[in-house]
Symmetry: C2
Amino acid sequence: MQINLAIDAMGGDLGPRTNVSGALLALLHDPLLSITLVGNKEQLTNLLLQHSLSRDFTSRIHILASDDAIGMDEAPASVLRNRKNSSMHLAIKLVAQGQCQGVVSGGNTGALMLISRHYLGMLAGIERPAISTAIPTYQGRSYLLDLGANINCQPEHLLQFALMGSVMVSRVEGKAKPSVALLNVGHEAIKGNSLVKSAASLISQHPCLNYAGYIEGDKIFNGDVDLVVCDGFTGNIALKTSEGLARYLSGQIQTLFHKNWYSRLVGLMARPLLHQLKQQMDPVRYNGGSFLGLQGCVVKSHGNADAQGFSFAVMRAAIEARQQLAAHLQVAMQQRVFSQQKS
Amino acid sequence: MQINLAIDAMGGDLGPRTNVSGALLALLHDPLLSITLVGNKEQLTNLLLQHSLSRDFTSRIHILASDDAIGMDEAPASVLRNRKNSSMHLAIKLVAQGQCQGVVSGGNTGALMLISRHYLGMLAGIERPAISTAIPTYQGRSYLLDLGANINCQPEHLLQFALMGSVMVSRVEGKAKPSVALLNVGHEAIKGNSLVKSAASLISQHPCLNYAGYIEGDKIFNGDVDLVVCDGFTGNIALKTSEGLARYLSGQIQTLFHKNWYSRLVGLMARPLLHQLKQQMDPVRYNGGSFLGLQGCVVKSHGNADAQGFSFAVMRAAIEARQQLAAHLQVAMQQRVFSQQKS
């Protein structure tokens, strides 16, 4: 299915060069994808010229000019009000106006969330988007949410995350009844804080959910469950701690293979393997945080993702847009509200 | 300084063989250390005989017989009441009676905490021990607490953790004014939940603390601060997620170096390096969770730590016992209570 994604080409720590290269990688990978790059027209045109693209490629690339880029540390509320011609605003508006089926940005997360809510609106009963990402496991990948959008959660929020996450996994991974676990400090029923215990009671009783009980932090990577649900504070700490550790260990490997002449020699021979390893350890490998709960497809790329990382985020948006995830979430949440009203 | 540590030889997933080997490694490393192994006398004697120890060694090893061992999943409250002759009970009593200066156990964490509180008592103003462990960083090591003892925290608890942790780091690492950060979802003042924000206000205003602001999960391993404070729920998730990721990546490396004949060859050459790497990635490398806030030294070894891991926990207990950490914590907490009453 043909789709067109809006790319906030000015977002992220590494700027338009990385975003453009990443978007081109996604185009290479997906022949039915078109993109609209939003940003400084001259800069983007020059970057595209450097790639000497074929006509097939250029026909799938559009540019929407914007001379304003939002900084990573600007206050979201002020950005929402005052920067209506910024690349982020214009990129999201393309989705709101139906010209694009999704948007990808590596920019300011708070601003992206606020502007997306403003132009796209939320699904009934959802206050703010939950951020979800894929994590690598022994068995492929699982999904984790919320990753920081909802810092102060009630049990009902965790139920919403479980419902939205289940719909997302079933659409994106094609699993009929994805298993859902709650992240907790132990697997026994008596463990955990009051939030987790109340959420467990809501989730376990919900007819649409395949509840698998509590999961501890060290079991996330086993891949025994499809979806791990937690409040945004906990999820943010879990994900970022993992990112930090992966970077630390990656650095340790580098140091180890540069220690003396023998390790340098082995390091030289092991270079292709170490390259593979680095890719596997790299947090951007599964780059792309989906904003669930919006009436539209918005994917946040990691602020310092490289071109390959950015391409993963674009491909994630392509999958979600093709699967019409937002529409399916809307139906699922409406059915839920309906069934609650009946009972 | 000569010290004698009580070892719950029956605790942990791997049983007395691992604990005895670990304790012997610690004796080898520390010539002024003696141990009292508490557990099945026949089993322990046989295990010691297998090591063909010199007289110097045997003179530093005592056995206290106990024919009851507490299971990893037993209910702590029932264990406290009904299993008074278990190895864990008797080992902790040795500390309470002054015969040992500290105790190490790899057994049931909840039971260890409850029995320790019962026999040793808490410091004034502390309700339950906070668990702290060292974590590897680019610059050496930092400390993280609480790791799961205190699931439902008030801001005052986080202040207690900061105070106890600061005293611990200054004694154990010899740092005059250790820097303390609060684990949070962002470094800006507006970020975080109400618990973290209120705790920040308490910690930043405390005259004895060197407050360094908020720290995000991915910065923990940078080692820019000496101590990272969080509630027990968050700390448990952060630590266990890190353990799980380290195990996962360790497995990926194994797989990578066994993929084909070339990678197996490189793997063979890289074996000594990979061994070092595995050790660095191993969570037991910094094994030993200190229970802070008790009137005595109690160190919890990871349930599935190997002999080397267990030896790290014993050596940690030896440092804390020699530094008379519990006594110093008592003084520090009393001074604090006093200064609060004055104001």
